[in-house]
Amino acid sequence: MDLNFSAEEEAFRGEVQAFLKEKLRPELSAKMKLGGAPSKAEMEEWHALLNDRGWLANHWPKEYGGAGWAPVKKFIFELESELAFAPRIVPFGVSMLAPVLIKYGSDAQKKYWLPRILDGSDWWCQGYSEPGAGSDLASLKTSAVREGDHYIVNGQKAWTTMAQHADMIFCLVRTSKEGKCQEGISFLLIDMKTAGIDVKPVITIEGGHEVNEVFFTDVKVPIENLVGEENIGWTYAKYLLTYERTNIAGIGGSIALLGHLKQAAQKRKKHGKPLLDEPYFAARVARVEIALENMKTTNLRVLADVAAGGAPGAESSLLKIKGTVIYQELTSLMRRAMGAYAAPYFPEAADEGFNGQVGPDEALHAAEDYFNHRKLSIFGGSNEIQRNIVSKMMLGL
């Protein structure tokens, strides 16, 4: 039994830390620490820095311009990035579409699209969910009908993160109504500038704009934008959903937030003493800290399995359920720690030159962050769906 990373892995961790120290702008990291969302320009800036270092597509095979990292290295990189409050790599192109193209795409598709993901020419978004197809994703209705050299696409996608910034969307579309609903689905790449595409913002509970509805009306898509075979798209979609989910628990983000919470609760006072020492609050912090420590080891156990050649299957569902609940509890504690100052609301805080905040610094986004992160247990397959997966795949129920 050895819970530690190898000497080589530790050396790599040092390399990542040095990179973050040198390249991550303190202002950007400070903004992320207080729960601010990075702008598109900031995400592009971070992608470019990582790409220069060869670390953007860190899990792609080297022949496609990736770093070819093993799961442990990828995990260490993500852990350290989260601990440093760096922006996350936007997953849609790099981590979601690219693995599908590498495994199922044509040579022409790989040659054209992969470099464009690396250099930032294309920003991708994901067209999976629909208003009537959420947890029941396979019931999706957006249709693609073949007409000569094109598909004609009609329908609507929902919860499309970053569609307002995207150049391209990869979509699951229905190309056949025969057989089981999983059998008539295809995987299509669509240019967001095509006539007939309409993006409408969806404002979330805390007032932010992350997600959109995307409407398709007689949108013409060249047939060379079909990935793999027609009607086999569900296989590709499932591959994408299970690909490299060893960091799905977001341990690094939780550890970083716990540290931030403790600092904040140390500064907050009750009867002149730190709130962190007040027994009831301290008990809440201790409970989530214990759950997080346990989760860290659970996560490393799954990682060790994968490193030894096992495929992360339903285990990633377990990581997702518990990891999201822990992060949500941490945002809840940060909100609690702010007391009355959780209430003041400054949606204009992202604007240049904003200095109108009241109360402690950590209060600025505390409540918004708590409400926004309710999404964690809903998106990417709700925690209810993850439980279905575990009960079916692991327990045989």
């Binding site: 959420g134 979330t204 002149g272 009355a340 209430a343 409400f371 999404k375």
Partner: protein, 375 residues
């Protein structure tokens, strides 16, 4: 034993519920709640004309009922509509002015009729809900008092005609002795307000007191009487906010139930899935428990310990249950529950943020245990 509303209260409930439902359709409510004013002066005027505010006060105080059950009824109805009007300020400032006696009778009358708006500032940056933790200073001089300090997150401060604030005449920052309560009139020299919207709608502000000179008759209470009054006023807030939370939960229950019946996935309404049925049942059970907690609190027992324990029990129950109901209602709705467009998200925000006013769960747990020792 009879848990039904009497005829007067039933009529008040019907009138108020109908009026609020008519005025605060959710889109309209959000427009008002997130506006620079944080409330609607015209609707407030209509509410005043209906005499609703008088239900919070006894006949002696210029109202027409004013028992705990009247307060609970009014605030439950306000919760159901997510009403952002300054009712809590009216209740608390009004009760403070009652304690202030004859010098405050005119202002009290105006508060009860709704002609004037009241607010209270008891919270400070370092108090974290502790009423005695007051750093703001009051200095007595020949003409009256001078006030210095900052009161935090004062609901509706910028529209208030009078703000009741706690300040310290003597003693250490945490002492219950040496406190005083003052009625600070709007517009007085040295008073400034830095106002903002709240995350759950409505408006609040930092009340900054800088060499504010007020007359000696602005004093409402001092010494041990001041702390006792603070506790009494906070008790009214505990009851009112708990009842408001209960009203919110009742609406969220119906919204979620309806969604479970309407939303279809895998070919059936999702309410057919046993795992969701059981979670819904748990919510219903907890909401019934919360209603009982509000009923216990609304008795406003003459025994101070029993009254205090009941009030803290209610506020704790609403905090705990509210947190659960808000999170589960969003989760059971799925993505759509996360949207600004769906009413359930706004109910969830208000419900959670009630725990940030006049003591959170932990505060009330500690207070309950403390009061239990003195019984």
């Amino acid at each position: 034993m009879d848990f039904k509303l009497n005829e007067d209260r039933r009529m008040l409930d019907e009138t108020l519920t109908r009026f609020l439902a008519d005025k605060y359709e959710i889109t309209k409510r959000n427009e008002i709640a997130y506006s620079d004013a944080g409330h609607d002066a015209n609707i407030w005027k209509e509410i005043a004309e209906l005499g609703i505010i008088g239900a919070l006060f006894t006949e002696d105080e210029g109202g027409f009922s004013g028992e705990g059950f009247d307060i609970a009824l009014v605030f439950e109805a306000l919760g159901k509509a997510l009403c952002p009007e300054p009712f809590l300020g009216a209740l608390l400032a009004g009760k403070a002015l009652v304690a202030g006696g004859a010098d405050h009778a005119t202002m009290l009358e105006d508060i009860v009729t709704g002609a004037k708006i009241g607010a209270v500032g008891f919270e400070e940056e370092a108090s974290h809900y502790e009423l005695a933790h007051v750093a703001s200073k009051a200095t007595k001089n020949a003409d009256g008092y001078e006030l210095d300090g900052v009161k935090s997150v004062v609901t509706h401060a910028q529209i208030a005609d009078v703000i009741i604030v706690s300040a310290r005449l003597s003693g250490d920052v945490d002492d219950t002795a040496g406190l005083a309560l003052f009625a600070v009139p709007a517009g007085v020299d040295g008073l400034s307000i830095r106002d903002y919207n709240n995350v759950d709608g409505g408006r609040a502000g930092e009340v900054i007191l800088s060499k504010v000179k007020i007359a000696s008759n602005a004093l409402i209470a001092e010494g041990e009487a001041a702390f006792a009054l603070l506790e009494t006023l906070a008790g009214y807030a505990h009851l009112a906010l708990s009842a408001e939370g209960l009203g919110i939960m009742e609406v969220m229950k119906l919204q979620t139930l309806e969604f479970l019946k309407l939303r279809t996935q895998f070919g059936v309404p999702i309410g057919k899935f046993q795992v969701l049925q059981h979670r819904m049942v748990d919510l219903v059970l907890e909401i019934e428990q919360a209603r009982s907690a509000v009923i216990n609190a609304a008795t406003l027992s003459d025994d101070a310990v029993i009254r205090g324990k009941n009030l803290s029990a209610a506020k704790l129950t609403i905090g705990e249950t509210g947190h659960k109901v808000a999170e589960e209602a969003i989760q059971l709705h799925g993505g759509i529950g996360m949207t600004w467009e769906m009413p359930v998200s706004h109910y969830a925000k208000r419900l959670v943020m009630i725990d940030h006013q006049f003591g959170d769960e932990d505060y009330h747990l500690a207070r309950y245990i403390e009061l239990s020792k003195s019984a």
